[in-house]
Symmetry: C2
Subunit: 381 residues, 2 copies
């Protein structure tokens, strides 16, 4: 797919970019946040809810879907889009991250990783061949290469080995995607830049992968336990060496201010379980920081989570009602809070795009982060 | 509200009726099934889902809502409709049934029932004054009187006492509804006919309550453990003595064939937790009886639960996908199965209304029940 990514505008103050990514299932306007649908569903939401909140692309997960119900079954049923009733773009994680974070008894070999399923202990194996076959079965619009994700902190030697191995695996994934016709048919494959906290390794990884001409590039190995400044430092050490004419994706991140800070560093795409996971626990986002709806002070609060925010939850329900649903253990609490939190993220991205177009992204994003962090700090104090 | 109920047509073969009930929040076409929203939510559905599946009226529960979050709080927030974001009609159960089925350490007195909350053991009291005040707070379109619900089986003397007490309480509830202006403002209050398995007590109860001129009448004390033939016999022993020009409501019932059989006995309104409760366990309804989506045979079934049924679940998702969601423990399974089951019930009522209008209800309902029961029996065998 030639010219699949258009760089519409680059900010003159920050490294932020306004872009447009074409996929087989539609166009993605960047910067964008991608709701996470690990097991073939964005937890507690229907695809109609996802459309309503403005989701442009969602995530599926190779590791989870291959364990259950299996990528062969999904292929037999017409692919992941049809299976889950979502006809927009889908990006699938390669499963590498889950193998390194969830699975047990890993054995890293040159052709991939042997591991035990976290569900039933079954012996499994994922390497370039396997993850590309699975993502072909799923019919992914954007497939990710398999990589070795080093822990934080890690030794330089171990990290250099992981970077080298990730490069070889990425190269094999790309070759497989060419041979199988996956790339030729218009699916994308994104490479993943590792390197932990070693700036020179990150640069080396980014530049060597750039030479392979992938349709997109991701920053991997972040949000693995390191403090926020370290995380942002790693992103900042990576993006300058990623191709400017390809979309850039920061994997598994982050809070609303972190997203804006990373947009300023030149990142275009994000995914994170945070907004949906905390929603199921009654934590919801506002421009003045997150609030916990379980708090007694919301007991008789007739106002919405965020006044004037145009989503189903804020248009129709009070904080008092949401608190009641949570207290009564009602599932609808999770649905309504997830709708709000994901819409809050998607709306934030829409605002970022608008301010990039208007040319005032730098001042706007600083003010937004300041208000959010001030409110959050005041609430904790 | 004069002429609040129009009897549009009475079947010439069965005692089935096609009617129209006016309430402060809209018109209800009968026969109708009412989804149960015990705690201010029909479990796992948004009000938008309820609209989509054609819900005309839903239930709220005095006992539960008064325990949590309290009817005073709901009143302070503008009433139950506003609280839960549902602007259609709401019928509220008086709480009597829950006091007799859920609460502990009951003490029945002439002015009501003292009991302990099933949540925290708090000492509480519900009598005519309390239930009418609570239902006024909730802003119920159709309030139910408090009654004494005898267990099954029960002695004749105890049942006669319960019927007598239920009559006195119903009378007080009606007087309170007149004095407070609740009836005058257009809210309805329905009386409840008890009498257990004693036909003469049921007749006596129905006739004495009929003389009090309530806006509607319910058959109570059914579905308390008795076998189906006994349950239908009790309904059949009651409806002939209920006023023909008022809506008739069978409380807490039943399966799809039971609903059709009770429509044939002259019942207009139903509520039951069955379709939503079993949906959360993967049991879904079809015209050939219920099926369990957990069953291995649905693993790769690309078809919907019911081919051609026009609800969100059947239009968009395969049995294989629903089975996957259940196996993966995903909340969306409950939402999609609940949408289907409640729509199945509402669609069955719409079919019944259409066949009543067309004049072929008797033959249609026998054929429907036959197909359903044959399919269900074949599946068990």
């Amino acid at each position: 797919m030639p010219d699949h990514f258009q760089l519409l505008k680059t900010d003159t103050v920050t490294a932020a970019r306004r872009g447009r990514l074409r996929t087989l299932h539609g166009v993605i306007e960047t910067p964008i946040f991608m709701p996470v649908g690990t097991q073939g569903t964005v937890k507690s939401l229907t695809p109609a809810h996802l459309r309503e909140i403005g989701a442009q692309v969602i995530l599926g997960n190779t590791y989870h879907l291959n364990l259950r119900p299996s990528s062969e079954l999904i292929a037999e049923l017409g692919g992941l889009h049809k299976f889950m009733g979502w006809d927009g773009p889908i990006l699938t994680d390669s499963g590498g991250f889950q193998v390194f974070s969830l699975a047990k008894l890993r054995d890293i070999r040159e052709d991939g990783v042997a591991f035990s399923s976290h569900l039933d202990g079954a012996k499994l194996f994922l390497g370039p061949k396997e993850v590309m076959a699975i993502q072909r079965n799923l019919g992914s619009d954007i497939a990710m290469v398999i990589d070795e994700c080093p822990p934080w902190p890690c030794e330089r030697d171990a990290c250099a080995q992981a970077v080298a191995r990730s490069y070889r695996w990425a190269k094999q994934c790309r070759e497989l995607a060419v041979e199988s016709g996956f790339l030729g048919a218009g699916h994308h494959v994104f490479a993943i830049v590792q390197g932990s906290t070693f700036d020179d390794l990150r640069r080396e990884a980014a530049e060597s992968l750039a030479a392979l001409d992938f349709p997109g590039y991701a920053v991997g190995g972040v949000s693995v336990g390191e403090p926020e400044p370290e995380m942002l430092k790693q992103v900042a050490a990576t993006t300058p060496f990623m191709p400017a004419d390809k979309p850039r994706y920061a994997m598994g991140l982050g809070t609303p201010p972190q997203l804006l800070k990373m947009i300023a560093l030149g990142v275009d795409m994000f995914d994170c379980v945070l907004p949906s996971r905390v929603a199921r626990n009654g934590l919801v986002f506002t421009p003045d920081g997150p609030i916990n709806l379980k708090n007694e002070k919301h007991r008789n609060d007739p106002g919405p989570i965020v006044e004037g925010l145009d989503n189903y939850t804020c248009r129709n329900f009070s904080r008092a009602y949401l608190r009641h649903l949570i207290a009564a253990g009602e599932m609808l609490a999770a649905t309504l809070c997830t709708i709000h939190n994901l819409h809050f993220y998607l709306d934030l991205m829409a605002q970022a795009r608008a301010h990039l177009e208007a040319g005032d992204f730098a001042t706007w994003h600083r003010a937004w982060v300041e208000r959010y962090e001030t409110g959050a700090a005041a609430r904790v104090a």
